[in-house]
C-alpha cells in the first residue's frame, strides 16, 4: 500500500504547513500523502523544496499532528483525479470524495488538477449564448459559451439563489449541457438551498456538486475549484458538452489562499492577500473556453461576496480584471433578483446576440443611466421641478424594474418573452429619445405615436 518511502523527520508544524527534513528527489508541486498514528490519511501539496527540506501544505490542516506522529510519502507526480462521465449526478466533498453515499467516482483516465494552459491560438472566440431564463441577464448581460463572468454580491444578498437558479435553468439551445457546481465555505443552509434548486438537474444526470462547507477543512478549498474545472474539462472537451462551472464563494477560496501565504511568511500585497492572487485566480478562470474544431465549451461563473460591498477589495477587483464581465447585485435594488444592471457588463455579449438585441440593450442601459441622473436631481430639487422628459425616464426605470428585472425564483423566461417585456418598458419613453435603435426596428416594435399620447 505504501510504495513510496515514508519520511518521519518533521521539523515544523505551522498553520496548514508541515516541514519535512531528509527528503530526496522530491519535486515541486508533488502530491503528498500524510499519515497520522491514528491511521488517518491526509493529502498535501509540496509548496517548496530546499535541499533536503520539503514544505507541504496539508489540505485537511495540521490538527492533532505532532512532530513524531506524522509520516509523509511523496507520490512523484502532481495531484491527479479520475475523470469521466462518472461524475455526473454525483454529490462529493471538496476533494471529490462521495457525500451522497455512493461508491468513489472512477474514471477511464486520470488528469492533473492543475491543468495545462490552453494555447491561445487554439481557442475559438466565444460566439453563442447560454440562455439562463433570467431576463436581466439574457437581455442585458448575456452569458456567452466559453466565457467567464462573475457574480459580485454583498453579504445578505441572494447571490447563491441566483447562481443556483442559473445552474438549474441554463441551457445551450438543445445541445448537451451540464453543470459543475463547486461550493467553497458555504453554510449548511446555503448548501441545502443549492441542492434543492439543482435537484432536477442532478436527477437528469447533468450535475456534479462538490461541497466544501464552512465547517470543512479550510485548505481543502484551494483544491475544490481545480477539481471542478478538471472534471469540467473532460466533460466538455472529451464528452462534447457545454459545461457551466459555478464557483461559489470565491472570497472563501481567496481567504484560504491567504491563510497559506501568511503561514509561509510571504510578503503580503493588498489586504495581506498574496502577491500572486491575480495569477492564481487566472489559473482558474482562464480554464474556460472553446477549442477550435472540438465540440463542447466551458463557461465559468465565479460568485463572490464583496466584503462590506467594496468593489475595490482585491478579490472582486482582481476577478473583474480577469473575467469577461460581471453581474453585480446591489442592496439598493428593491426587486428580486437585485441586479444593478448599470454596473453589470458582459464583454463578449455582442458576439452572441443579434445586432438588434445589442442596440436594444444599449438603449435600455443609456436610458437607465439617464433615469438615474434624473432621480438624483429629483432628490435635490424635488420631482416636481423635473422636466417632462426627465419624468418619463424615471417612469421608464420603474417600468423596467417591474416588467423586466423582477422575476420569481424558479421562473424561467424564454428569450422572446424577455424581449417583449423589454420593449414594453421602452415604450414608456418618447420615441425621439430612442436614438440608439434603428428606426425600422422602432416602427416594427413600438405602438403608433398617437396611441402613446404623443411626445413633446
Amino acid at each position: 500500500m505504501w510504495p513510496e518511502p515514508e519520511y518521519t523527520d518533521v521539523t515544523d508544524l505551522r498553520g496548514p504547513l508541515i516541514v519535512v527534513r531528509g527528503v530526496s528527489g522530491v519535486g515541486w508541486d508533488e502530491y503528498a500523502r500524510v499519515r497520522l498514528d491514528s491511521g488517518e490519511e491526509r493529502g498535501g501539496l509540496v509548496l517548496e523544496v530546499d535541499r533536503d527540506l520539503a514544505v507541504v501544505q496539508v489540505f485537511e490542516g495540521t490538527d492533532a499532528m505532532t512532530r513524531r506522529s506524522v509520516r509523509v510519502a511523496f507520490t512523484g507526480s502532481p495531484l491527479k483525479i479520475p475523470v469521466g462521465d462518472g461524475w455526473l449526478g454525483r454529490v462529493c466533498d471538496g476533494r471529490g470524495r462521495p457525500r451522497d453515499g455512493g461508491p468513489p467516482v472512477l474514471g477511464a483516465a486520470d488528469a492533473p488538477v492543475g491543468g495545462a494552459p490552453l494555447n491561445p491560438t487554439r481557442r475559438s472566440p466565444p460566439a453563442e449564448p447560454v440562455l439562463t431564463g433570467i431576463s436581466a441577464i439574457d437581455a442585458l448581460t448575456t452569458l456567452v459559451r466559453g466565457q467567464k463572468i462573475a457574480i459580485f454580491s454583498a453579504p445578505g444578498l441572494p447571490h447563491l439563489e441566483l447562481a443556483a437558479q442559473i445552474g438549474a435553468q441554463a441551457g445551450a439551445g438543445g445541445e448537451p449541457f451540464c453543470v459543475v457546481f463547486a461550493a467553497m465555505g458555504l453554510t449548511h443552509a446555503d448548501a441545502a438551498t443549492v441542492r434543492d434548486t439543482l435537484e432536477e438537474r442532478s436527477a437528469a444526470g447533468e450535475l456534479t456538486l462538490l461541497l466544501n462547507l464552512a465547517g470543512d477543512p479550510v485548505i481543502e478549498r484551494v483544491l475544490t475549484p481545480r477539481l471542478a474545472l478538471t472534471i469540467a474539462e473532460n466533460l466538455a472537451f472529451t464528452g462534447g458538452r457545454h459545461v457551466l462551472v459555478v464557483l461559489a464563494d470565491m472570497t472563501s477560496y481567496c481567504e484560504a489562499l491567504r491563510e497559506v501565504s501568511v503561514a509561509r511568511g510571504e510578503i503580503p500585497a493588498r489586504r495581506a492577500y498574496p502577491g500572486y492572487l491575480y495569477s492564481d485566480l487566472a489559473s482558474l478562470y482562464e480554464r474556460c473556453g472553446r477549442i477550435r474544431d472540438r465540440a463542447g465549451s466551458i463557461t465559468v461563473l465565479p460568485v463572490l461576496t464583496m466584503p462590506a460591498g467594496d468593489m475595490t477589495h482585491p478579490v472582486p477587483d482582481l476577478t473583474g480584471y480577469i473575467t469577461e464581465g460581471q453581474i453585480v447585485l446591489a442592496p439598493d435594488v428593491d426587486v428580486r433578483p437585485p441586479i444593478d444592471v448599470l454596473a453589470s457588463l458582459s464583454r463578449l455579449m455582442r458576439a452572441a446576440v443579434t445586432p438588434a438585441h445589442m442596440d436594444l440593450a444599449a438603449q435600455i442601459l443609456a436610458a437607465l443611466a439617464r433615469a438615474r441622473q434624473a432621480r438624483e436631481l429629483a432628490e435635490l430639487i424635488g420631482a416636481s421641478a423635473l422636466s417632462e422628459t426627465d419624468r418619463r425616464f424615471i417612469d421608464f426605470e420603474l417600468s423596467f424594474r417591474h416588467r423586466v428585472l423582477a422575476q420569481r425564483p424558479g421562473e424561467s423566461r424564454a428569450l422572446e418573452e424577455t424581449m417583449d417585456r423589454a420593449w414594453q418598458a421602452l415604450s414608456t419613453l418618447p420615441r425621439p429619445e430612442l436614438t440608439m435603435i434603428d428606426s425600422a426596428e422602432l416602427d416594427a416594435r413600438l405602438p403608433k405615436e398617437d396611441e402613446r399620447g404623443g411626445t413633446r
Binding site: D29, L118, G320
Partner: protein
C-alpha cells in the same frame, strides 16, 4: 553541470554553475526548462524559470547556456503568434507544456541587394526577403565591413548564411538579447503625428511617432477594446501586440479579427503587418515578465528596416506584478505596495526604448509604445500608474463614469494629457492643415466649460441655468455624442480618418455656434434644446461622410 538546490514555484536555486553570469540563460532539469539568472550569492545562483517547474527537485541537473535571454528575429515574425519567449504558438499543441518541440523551419526567398566585395556599414541591407508580411523585409548586417560572400537569389532556410560581411556570417534569422536596446545612430527631434483613427485621440490627445502613451483604466472601462482599435487602424507599418497576462479569449479574438480584416493602406490582411505576442494570464508567470522586452526587441528589429512600429502592451501592470511576485519569492525588501524598489527604473527603461531615430543604416524608423495600466480598484494613486505617468508623453485616462454610461472610448478629456499637442499642431500647420490646433483648443474649452456647468447643474438643476449656459451644456453633449463617442463595432465609424474627424467636428462646432447665436438673440433655451440634432449626431454613422447635415 550544476545542481538544483531549491525550487519554490518559478524561483529556482542552482549550485555549481560558476560560468552562469547575471541575466544569462540556464537550462533546468533533464528537460532543460529555460530560466534566467537574476542573483548570485556565493556558489549559488537564483534563477527565474520561464515554465511550470512542477516535478523539478533538488539534485536535478542544470546547465549554463552562456547567452543572455534572446529572441529569434526573422522573416517568420509578421503574421505570427508567439509566446513570451517568441516561440511560435501556432505550431504548439492544444495544451501548452513546459517542453515543446522546435517548429519545422520554413524556407524563404532571398534576393541579394549588394554584390560581393561591396563595403557595407552596420545596419545596411545585404538583401531582401519576399513574402515576409506587409513590409519589404530587409536583411541587415549588424557589423560594418566588406561583403566577402553573398548567396544568389533563391530559397534558403533561416539558419543558412546568406552573406558574409567581414568574418561575420549573416543568416535570415538571428538571435538578439531582449533586455538591451538595439543601437541606432541618433534620435530625431522633429515630431510627426501617429494617426490612430480614434477621434478622441487624434483630435484632443495626439501621440507622436516614437512617443510613449499610457492608458490607465479600471476593469470594464474598455481599455482592451481601445488598444485593439489602435492596433487595427493606426497608420503604422508594423504593429506588435502584446497580451501580457491578459485574457485568452481576447487573444483568440484579436488573432481571428486581424486575420479577417483588410489593411486599408495595403489591401492585404491586417495580420500581415502584425506580430502578436500572447502570454495569457494562465501561462507561466515569468514569461510575462520577459514578453514586454521581447516585444520591444521585435519592434526595434523592424524599426531598423525603416518602419514605423507601434508596440501595444496590454497590460504593463501584469508585467509589474510578475516582477513583484518574483521579488517577493526572492525575499527582496518591498518598496511601495510590495513592488520591488527598481520598479520606477524598470518602467522608465521600458518606455525609453520608444523613439523616432535615424538607424545605423541611415533610415528613419520609429517605435511608439502604448501601454495599458490596470490600476487595482481603479486607484490612480497606486505605484504603477503614478510612476508610468512620469515616463510617458501622453496619457489616455479611462473614466469609469463614462464607461458606465456606455460612452466609448471612455477616454476622459479632463484627466488625460498630451504633452506634445502644441508641437504637433505646428507640424499640422506646416503640412497644410492650419486649423488643427485651433479646432483642438476650441473643442477642449467647450468640453471643460460643459463639465464645469454639468457639476453646477447637478446641484441646482439645468433648468435654473441661464440660456447661454444651457447652450454650453448642450454643446458639450453634442461634442461627446457626435464626435468623441466612436463605436468599435461600426463598419463605418470604427476608423475615422483625420479629414473625416475634422469634418465631423467642424459640423458640430458650426451647429454649436448657431445655437450660441440663437441664445444671444434671446431664443429660449427650451427651444434651442428642442431642435432635432439627431441627423448631425448620427453623421458619424454615414458612409458618405458628414456632408452638410445641419439641424433639421
Amino acid at each position: 553541470m550544476g545542481v538544483l538546490t531549491r525550487v519554490d514555484g518559478p524561483l529556482v536555486e542552482v549550485c555549481g554553475l560558476p560560468e552562469a553570469g547575471m541575466f544569462t540563460l540556464v537550462g533546468l532539469g533533464t528537460a532543460g526548462i529555460p530560466g534566467e539568472v537574476v542573483a548570485i550569492r556565493g556558489d549559488s545562483a537564483t534563477v527565474q524559470a520561464y515554465e511550470y517547474t512542477g516535478g523539478l527537485a533538488p539534485g536535478d541537473p542544470a546547465e549554463a547556456y552562456g547567452e543572455p535571454l534572446s529572441a529569434p528575429l526573422g522573416p517568420h515574425l509578421l503574421g505570427g503568434v508567439f509566446d513570451g519567449l517568441l516561440r511560435p504558438l501556432t505550431d504548439a499543441g492544444t495544451w501548452l507544456t513546459a517542453v515543446r518541440s522546435a517548429p519545422r523551419p520554413k524556407e524563404w526567398r532571398f534576393t541579394p541587394a549588394v554584390p560581393q566585395g561591396h563595403e557595407l556599414g552596420a545596419g545596411e541591407p545585404v538583401g531582401t526577403v519576399e513574402g515576409a508580411g506587409a513590409v519589404p523585409y530587409a536583411v541587415l548586417t549588424p557589423v560594418p565591413g566588406r561583403v566577402t560572400a553573398i548567396r544568389p537569389p533563391g530559397r534558403c532556410a533561416p539558419d543558412v548564411p546568406v552573406a558574409s560581411v567581414g568574418d561575420r556570417d549573416i543568416t535570415l534569422c538571428r538571435r538578439r538579447p531582449v533586455r538591451s536596446p538595439a543601437p541606432y545612430r541618433e534620435r530625431l527631434e522633429e515630431l510627426v503625428p501617429l494617426v490612430t483613427g480614434q477621434r478622441v485621440v487624434d483630435l484632443l490627445l495626439p501621440v507622436p511617432r516614437g512617443g510613449a502613451a499610457a492608458v490607465p483604466g479600471g476593469f470594464g472601462t474598455g481599455k482592451t477594446v481601445l488598444l485593439q482599435q489602435i492596433a487595427k487602424w493606426c497608420d503604422a507599418d508594423v504593429v506588435v501586440y502584446v497580451g501580457c497576462g491578459e485574457r485568452g479569449n481576447e487573444m483568440a479574438d484579436v488573432v481571428a479579427e486581424l486575420a479577417e480584416l483588410t489593411d486599408p493602406r495595403t489591401g492585404g490582411r491586417l495580420a500581415d503587418r502584425t506580430v502578436v505576442i500572447a502570454n495569457t494570464s494562465n501561462m507561466p508567470m515569468m514569461a510575462r515578465e520577459a514578453c514586454v522586452h521581447t516585444a520591444m526587441t521585435v519592434a526595434e528589429h523592424f524599426r531598423d528596416m525603416g518602419c514605423d512600429v507601434v508596440v501595444i502592451a496590454d497590460s504593463t501592470s501584469r508585467w509589474a506584478e510578475a516582477r513583484r511576485e518574483f521579488a517577493s519569492r526572492h525575499g527582496e525588501l518591498p518598496a511601495e505596495e510590495g513592488y520591488p524598489a527598481d520598479l520606477a527604473s524598470a518602467l522608465a527603461a521600458f518606455y525609453e526604448r520608444a523613439g523616432r531615430v535615424t538607424t545605423l543604416g541611415g533610415r528613419i524608423g520609429s517605435v511608439t509604445v502604448i501601454g495599458a495600466v490596470s490600476p487595482p480598484g481603479g486607484d490612480m494613486t497606486e505605484p504603477v500608474t503614478t510612476l508610468t505617468q512620469r515616463f510617458v508623453r501622453c496619457l489616455w485616462s479611462l473614466d469609469r463614469d463614462l464607461a458606465y454610461s456606455r460612452h466609448y472610448p471612455a477616454v476622459s478629456w479632463a484627466s488625460s494629457f498630451a504633452r506634445d499637442a502644441d508641437t504637433l499642431a505646428g507640424w499640422y500647420a506646416r503640412h497644410g492643415i492650419p486649423g488643427w490646433g485651433e479646432r483642438r483648443r476650441r473643442v477642449a474649452s467647450i468640453l471643460a466649460e460643459a463639465d464645469r456647468l454639468g457639476l453646477l447643474a447637478e446641484l441646482v438643476g439645468a433648468e435654473s441655468l441661464p440660456a447661454h449656459e444651457r447652450v454650453a451644456l448642450l454643446a458639450g453633449r453634442m461634442l461627446r455624442e457626435g464626435v468623441l463617442r466612436q463605436s468599435a463595432l461600426s463598419a463605418v465609424d470604427a476608423f475615422s480618418a483625420p479629414e473625416r474627424t475634422a469634418a465631423l467636428t467642424d459640423g458640430i462646432l458650426a451647429a454649436i455656434a448657431e445655437c450660441e447665436a440663437m441664445a444671444a438673440r434671446g431664443v429660449p433655451a427650451e427651444e434651442i434644446e428642442g431642435r432635432d440634432f439627431s441627423r448631425l449626431l448620427r453623421a458619424k454613422e454615414q458612409r458618405a461622410g458628414p456632408g452638410a447635415a445641419g439641424p433639421g
